[in-house]
Amino acid sequence: MTVFVDIGSLDDIPRQGARLVKTAQDCIAVFRTADDRVFALDDRCPHKGGPLSEGIVHGTAVTCPLHNWVFDLNTGQAQGADQGQVRTHAVRVSQGRVLIDAGLIRSRNAA
């Protein structure tokens, strides 16, 4: 079972925007859509390592700011003609707080 850890308030993330969560290895981008759904993906485009957290969020997709690759926030899959996938992480909202997979702390200890 996934154990979750509180990372902040939903209001700390702009609608159609993202904030970063730092782990020992990588950064995770936590996105908030226009209808207040929340997704967590690695903050690294598989194409050239662009920071997805700085991309334009549209629907449940984000466009990488470096070369316009588009990723589905649900699956992390690149859309259209581009091929690639970004790792997704379990995240949810409970009573206005954003909770993320606590395994992200552990996995880094193991490394």
């Binding site: 990372i7 970063l20 969560v21 730092k22 859509t33 969020v57 470096l66 316009n68 993320i100 702390i105």
Partner: protein, 809 residues
Amino acid sequence: MKKKLVVIGAGMASGRMLEQLFDAAPDAFDVTLFNAEPRGNYNRLMLSPVLSGEKTYQQIVTHDDAWYAAHNVDCRFGEPVVRIDRKNRVVYSNSGGAPYDALVIATGSAPFIIPVPGKDLPGVVTYRDLEDTQAMMDTAGKDAVVIGGGLLGLEAAAGMAARGARVTVIHLMGHLMERQLDPAAGYLLQRDLEKRGITVHCQGATKAILGSDRAEAVLLEDGTVYPADLVCMAVGIRPETRLANDAHLEVERGIVVDDALRTSDPHIFALGECVEHRGQLFGLVAPLYDQAKVLARTLMGAEAAFAPVQTATKLKVTGCDLFSAGDFADAPGREDIVFRDPGRGIYKRLVLENDRIVGVVMYGDTADGSWFYGLMKDGADIGPMRDTLIFGPAFQGGAAPDPMAAVAALPPEAEICGCNGVSKGTILDAVAGGACTLEAVRTCTKASASCGTCTGLVQQVMALALGGAVAEAPAGMCKCTDHTHEDVRHLIRSMGLKTIPAVMQELGWKTVGGCHSCRPALNYYLLAEWPLDYQDDRQSRFVNERNHANIQKDGTYSVVPRMWGGVTTPAELRAIADAAQKYDVPMVKVTGGQRIDLLGVKKEDLPHMWADLNAAGMVSGAAYSKGLRTVKTCVGKEFCRVGTQDSTGLGIKLEKLMWGSWTPHKLKLGVSGCPRNCAEATCKDIGVVCVDSGYNISIGGAAGMEVRETVALASTPSEDEAVAIILAVTQLYRENARYLDRIWKWMGKVGLDWIKAQVVDDADNRAALVERFEISQSVYRRDAWADLSTPAETPRWAPLAELTLEAAE
């Protein structure tokens, strides 16, 4: 125990095959990848955009070092394989052997070299790899001859022409691309290429390449001689089968493979341009990708069979739109449907057999190509829609969403043509009165008769009245809508739409939240239209404009404070130096726009750095914005012995009036104090060159991918009038141009005369434009950092949480 897979050739087919294999069975094989080129997989199809300068090599790499490392691929790049030992299952390069359980040959194809004297001279290249591309990129200002007017040859020719070479194409057949195009489309293509300064010589047979130490000219059988510093042979390719031949595999024209892509040796497989499958060779990418899929499955021990499908061709030359698929030779029982619009250079031809499409050729407007192609592949019976087939899916009732809905919903008094104040009702009346062509409506109402940007909308209103009998409307602004940029702008105005969601709802956006292409455009159109009402949407801005800094490739940012007219003070320089030191800036660089760039700043440092710079009186230089960038100046008559006016002072004045304004694309100004033009004003979007008698204002310059000289807009003895004209033309550009069009591009659409009439000849209109600019500036002449570097906002620039701290426990 993992099996050993050796792959010879890192091309597009083998790259795709490896991807499929690693996705499905990441641990099945230890892979060794040989490549004769000293690099890994890249998208060879994209060499043409690299040649023309539209892309860089880095942008077309499909698999980088990290990818090979992640999949433990043993890369032997720059190591051609010289021998395959089938008995012991080892392949050899000059540096040693690699044993295999399974071997994949993906050696691709080799360009065909016509056996004429001089073919081996330096300066004769083919068009196959990055080295060839590099040679062709260096032809600016030189003479180049391309032998072969097929797909590859024309892309080479257009690319070199874009680089500034004088290019001649020599083609053996009667018209260009004869395998893909019929003569009519070939003619249109030739005409377009000739417009770009490319000489086309059809029915030309090459006799020899002349030159002593290197290529100097090409001699044709008919005696014509074309000078040539570089000769590119692009007459075709043949499968590269030498290794397979030497290994005594079965080879016909290509390496023979079965449906599972196995060669005559059960441990050896082949795919790509080097193979022959059921007598057929392959040169286009789609079937190669299908082969990659099949071979990945075969290697995993699954059943899979390759079955080639028909493929379509597009030419990757910017500005030449052509599409070709299927068979278009004349034959008994075949019929044609042809559509021509000579004025716009459009030609479409469908070849039918038994009410089914067997061939498609399109030139000039290829938007419906994939739809026709789908009908052809499916063998669909087109009998019921034959009458309107050529007009595409939009005319087949219900196939495409209705772009008319928003137009239909407009009230009669809604303004369609802003230039001439023509309402929807006026246009409907004109149509009811018998005007059923665009020209007729233009003549009797003046709608779309000035700047022309509302043409699409006028056509839609007419179509509404006439029931769809007007020529097709231009393509939509992005995949989210069928409305053009111009239509969307007009409808924002006439329907009073003041938010992005309102635009998307009322104009029937097909996606939920738009996309990265339409959202920034809508944000701009709304703030330009309603400066006092609209609240700028930061989340619809590209990262640089959202973070008010320029993102670099490693995710850091660059910071450029404004230096008015390029003038600074010791105090400002000290503040910049302090900031650079305090935040450990890796590079401090002087920009081309007469200011100082601090490169490599971390995102979380941006608000702090700007708090310091703001405190020293500096504001953002907006070196990232679709807005006013710099006003470059020379020292002018204050110091210069030949200066005629105070060019520095005028530059500062303009920058202080215009800073903070958003424009359709970036806006750079220059003011030179005399015609020696030290501020390079004549390659800016707006330039002023001072003379004894006053100020010469010119617009539409550029010095980026396009290099253009400005054209004269106005001359005036008065500095105040010069300022007013510049503000007015800026506002006209803001209100009228399509998002991401620079002034030169916009000017090409509306015409210099129209701009002159608006801002030079009509003093009242000029004053009104200046007033509207000033209203907008009352909101936007403000440094974004004043709001963003506050204590409340600063934390938002740092990570939301750091899971590392908890980990340390």
